[in-house]
Each structure stands twice: as C-alpha cells, then as structure tokens.
C-alpha cells in the first residue's frame, strides 16, 4: 500500500522537475539580452572578446541542443557551471542552501514553539489571553515579510543595536545572532496562522460531544485533554504547520533581500535576471525537491497521527 503511494509521489517529482527544467530553459532562451553580459558588469567590451566567450559556454548552439546538453549532464549529476563565476553550480548552491536552510529551520522552530504554544494556550484557556491573541494574529497574519523585516531592523538593529542587521555571520553563535531578526521576520505571519489554526482545532475538539460527556462524567480533565482533544487536534495542526513551513522556502527570498543574506531565494532572482541558466535550473531543482519532501513528511505524519487514513487515500 505504501509502495504505490511513494512511487506516485516520486513520479510526480520527476515530472515536475522535467517540466520545470524545460520551462526554465525556454524562458531563459526567450528572455531578451545575453547571458554573457553578466561578465562585463556594464562596461564596454570588444565584440570579439564576447564572441570567444559565447563559444566557450556553447551559447551559440541551437535551443534544443543546449537543452539536451544540459539535461544529459544533469541526469548524471553534473549541474554545469555558472556563467558569471565559472564555478560549479552544485558548489554555489550548496553554500547558499546552507543559509536558507538555517533560516527556514530557525523560523520553523519559532513557528512550532510559539505558534502552536500560543494557539494551545488560547484554545485551552478562553479569556483575556485568547482575545488578545486573536487580535494580534489577525493583524500579524497580514503583515508582509518585508514590512516586518524593516520594522525589526528599525527597532532592534538601528535604535537598540541589540542584533546585527546584515549578513549571515561565521560560526554557530554568530550565525544564530545574525539570523534571529530574519527568522522572526520570516516566521511572524506564519506564527499567526499556525496559532489560529491550533486554537481553532482545539476549540473544535474540546467542544465535541464525547469530550463534553467525559468531562461531565468526572473523567479527569487533564487526561481527557491529552487523550482526546490534543490527539485529534494534532492532525489539522500538523498539516497546516507543514504546509506553512514548506511555503517559507520561497518567501525566504524576501527576507534574504531585506537582510542582505546570500541565500537561495535571493540568488534565484539575481541569476534569473542575469540569465545564468545553469544556476536557475539548480536552484529550481532544490526548491522543488524541498517542497515535495516537506509535503511527503506532512502526509506521513498525517498517516501516523490518524490511523483511519492510509497514505494512498490521502495522496489522491
């Protein structure tokens, strides 16, 4: 039962990658301007020198030949070299993935701890806290990440000088310090979304007939909550948290731009603008992979939490 499910997921992954690579190739080919321009940095350079370089990068070949060249290398694990830096794409991406991964991981921890924590508190203890949370989250969920980035920089980096506003830092301690503001900026609206889903799911489960009956019959409240309320509420919470985190990978581009982090998202925009094709392909590969894997994880968690669901059924 699990095998066909995983197989189907794998096929969709392959199809996505193939379609994506072709779309990227066509788009870069149709886009105006020469990829080689990135090398000149806006200075005037002799046409002869440019012709030599275009030949070196095989940019003078027809479209399908270029695509086939790339594809046949890519399936063997060779992602090619960046035109702008003559570096292996895999190396260029590996380094930047680290920053994006750290950022998304940091933000995910914040989302899980703060988002679910706040949601549970509000869900289980109606009252003033609950009210405050709803007010705060409905505004926070609508704050674009660039705005939270700017406001956080303004307060914590410029006015108070507590945290650095720029770059990724070296070493673990510095890295955490440098990524704190970006991670908060990235996580803020997701924390709000997750907190609301958590609160709502717990309310819904707590309001169910069997729970109310159990409590009225004098079954200890704590036991009822852990065994029935939290267990059942965990399903929508996990799903929405998972999907939210998967979407962070793309949103991180905004935060990376705002905080001058050399991450994947920011690199994607720069290299697609300068038509550094192999790099765009490589980043797309990583983004698609990460997204599909995260969704797979969510599905598996879903199946574990809810024994009624088997994977094959959910996948359809």
């Amino acid at each position: 039962m699990h095998v066909p499910f995983l197989l189907k997921r794998f096929l969709i992954l392959l199809a996505t990658l193939l379609v994506a690579s072709f779309v990227i190739f066509s788009a870069m080919f149709l886009a105006p301007g020469k990829p080689i321009a990135a090398l000149t940095g806006g200075r005037s350079v002799s046409p002869e020198a440019l012709a030599v370089l275009e030949r070196r990068y095989q940019l003078d070949e027809p479209f399908l030949t270029q695509y086939w060249n790339w594809l046949s290398h890519a399936v063997r694990g060779d992602l090619g070299i960046s035109i702008a830096t003559r570096q292996e794409v895999s190396e260029l991406i590996a380094e930047r993935s680290g920053i994006t991964f750290a950022l998304v991981l940091y933000a995910s921890v914040l989302i899980v701890v703060i988002g679910i924590g706040l949601g549970m508190l509000a869900g289980l203890r109606p009252g003033r806290l609950d009210t405050a949370l709803i007010v705060a989250t409905s505004a926070a969920a609508a704050i674009p990440p660039f705005l939270s980035a700017i406001v956080l920089t303004m307060i914590f980096a410029v006015s108070l000088g507590w945290l650095p506003a720029l770059g990724a830092g070296d070493g673990v301690v510095e890295r955490v310090e440098h990524l704190t503001l970006p991670a908060v900026a990235l996580a803020l609206s997701s924390i709000a979304v997750v907190a609301r889903v958590t609160r709502a799911s717990i309310r819904k489960e707590a309001g169910r007939e069997h729970v109310q009956t159990a409590i009225s019959r004098g079954v200890p409240r704590r036991g009822v909550i852990t065994r029935h309320v939290l267990r059942n509420a965990a399903i929508p919470i996990t799903t929405s948290t998972g999907i939210t985190i998967a979407s962070l990978i793309a949103v991180s581009a905004v935060v990376e731009t705002a905080f001058s982090l050399n991450g994947l998202g920011q690199y994607l925009i720069v290299s697609s603008n300068s038509k550094d094709l192999a790099v765009v392909q490589g980043i797309a590969l990583v983004l698609v992979l990460a997204f599909v894997l995260l969704n797979l994880l969510v599905d598996i968690a879903y199946a574990i939490l809810d024994p009624r669901v088997n994977l094959g059924a959910k996948a359809a």
Binding site: A27, A31, A142, P144, I150, R199, V254, T257, I269, N273
Partner: protein, 287 residues
C-alpha cells in the same frame, strides 16, 4: 508563497462566525474595501499633488498642513502616492483572482464532471504545478516580459490556479453526486447547460468567499513581488514599490512613507480576510 491560502482557508472555516450576517467587523471590512476601491478608481484624481512630481529639497520632509503624510525620498507627496498607488495595488490582485478562479474552476469542473482519466490528468498536472515554486514563476515571467504589473499578475494567476482547482474539484464532486444532477441528465439537458444553470450558481458562494480570501493574498504577494523588483517598477506609485523606494528612510529615522504604504497593504489584507471568513461562515450556515 501561496501555500498559506489553504491553511488559512481551513482556519477560516473552523473559526467561522456563528451569525450569517457580517457583524461589526464585517461591516468595517466592507467600508475599508469600499474606500480602497474608491481610491483605486478615483485616487489619481483625488490626489492633492502630482504623485510623480517631486523636488530634491522636499526629500524626507515630515507631515505638514500641505502634506498630511509628509514627503518621500524624492520629495513627492506620500498621501498622493498612496491614493494613486491604490489602483495598481488593487487592480493587479483583482485580475489575479479573476484569472485564477476562471482557470481553476474550469479545470475543477472538467475533472469533476468527466472523472476517470480526465480527472487523473488534471489532478496530476495540478500536483506538478503545485510543487512549482511561485517565486520561480515570477522570476521567469519578469525575465521574459521585463518586470512589470503584467508578468507578476500572470505568474501569480498560474501559481494560484492549482489551489483553486483542488478546492473546487472537491466541491464540484460533492455537488455532482446530488440527485438533481442525475435527474437533469435523464431529462436530456447537456452537460454544459447543467454546469452553467445549476452547478456553478450553486457553488458560486464558495467561489466568492474563496475569491475574497485569495484577493487578500494577492495584494500581499503583488506587494512582495514589487518589493523584490519583480513586479511594478518605480517610479509608478504602488504600495510595494513605495516600501522598497523609501526603505533607506527607516535608517534615517523617517519611516513614515514605508509604514504608511505597509499599513495600506495590511489594512486591505485584514479586511479581505475578515470578509472572506464571514462569507465562508455564512455559506456554511446555509447548509
């Protein structure tokens, strides 16, 4: 960047208001929406100053009686730019919503009606599109068409379509199973007639509610793309553009232009979310 929608939509459903009326928040949201639409239509004419005329000597000037919200990095009137910017900031998302609703519902209807192979093909295609990063689509569209409102709108419409299609497919499937559809089929009505006369009108409230929620996200996403340089280009007055243009003001303790543009985005998005949730709640209550 759009995956939040489904999560938020389900959250909306769960926290739905018990009343079928809009309630005070809903009314406020409607008022905000009406004001935003009015600004989008009449903003450029209401603006007290030419939104693109600035003077270097007016850069970063604070609020005064002539300039209620002060002046921006190039000495342009912030209030005038906010008013004029409402147009692209609202029109873009509107087109995104319409396009993605049309594409999504056509695909969903096809899948739900035909089922079988057609459904599998459409569902698989949506799965592929679903995993396609929205930011990549936007970057590619901007590279091919040269960044502007249209590439951003096209990219977002394509990115939103699988979400709409997935959601509506379920709704259409449920509707398709209802006895009246079979009855109509037996009476010899064509599929198109049944869809247009019955299925779509019945599902319309869900579509409107979803569209409202989508609109909020589209406002956010268009602003994000403009901020990243993949959407509307300066010096066009647009809320996202205004944030990126005036960013350096924050460091010079003149955050007003950035904050006022940012607040416009937040207010519209919150209003749309409230409305969407109320509509979803009202819809569910009817059943």
């Amino acid at each position: 960047m759009t995956a939040v929608i489904t999560a938020e939509a389900s959250a909306g459903k769960l926290t739905r208001a018990r009343s079928s009326r809009l309630g005070i928040p809903g009314v406020v949201a409607v008022v905000v929406l009406v004001l935003a639409v009015a600004a989008a239509i009449a903003g450029p004419y209401l603006a007290p100053y030419d939104p693109s005329a600035g003077s270097p000597s007016g850069a970063w000037l604070g609020p005064s009686s002539g300039h209620l919200l002060g002046q921006d990095v190039q000495g342009r009137d912030v209030a005038s730019r906010l008013l004029a910017g409402a147009r692209s900031s609202m029109l873009g998302p509107l087109i995104v919503v319409v396009l993605s609703l049309v594409m999504g519902s056509v695909l969903a209807l096809l899948a739900a009606w035909r089922r079988g192979v057609v459904d599998s093909i459409i569902s698989s295609t949506m799965d592929i599109l679903f995993a396609f990063p929205g930011i990549l689509l936007a970057a590619l569209a901007a590279a091919v068409l040269d960044a502007g409102l249209w590439p951003a709108v096209i990219a977002l419409s394509v990115a939103y379509t699988p979400y709409v299609a997935r959601l509506l497919r379920g709704v259409f499937l449920r509707e398709r199973e209802l006895p009246y559809v079979a009855a109509a089929e037996i009476q010899g009505f064509s599929a198109i007639t049944i869809c247009l006369r019955h299925l779509i009108p019945n599902v319309l409230p869900v579509m409107v509610a979803q569209g409202t929620l989508l609109f909020g996200y589209a406002v956010l996403d268009i602003a994000i793309l403009s901020y990243l340089g993949l959407g509307i280009q300066p010096p066009s007055p647009d809320w996202g553009v205004m944030v990126s243009e005036n960013q350096s003001g924050v460091l010079q303790s003149y955050p007003l232009p950035v904050l006022s543009a940012g607040c416009c985005v937040v207010v519209v998005v919150v209003a749309m979310n409230i409305l969407g949730e109320r509509l979803l709640g009202a819809k569910d209550n009817e059943r």
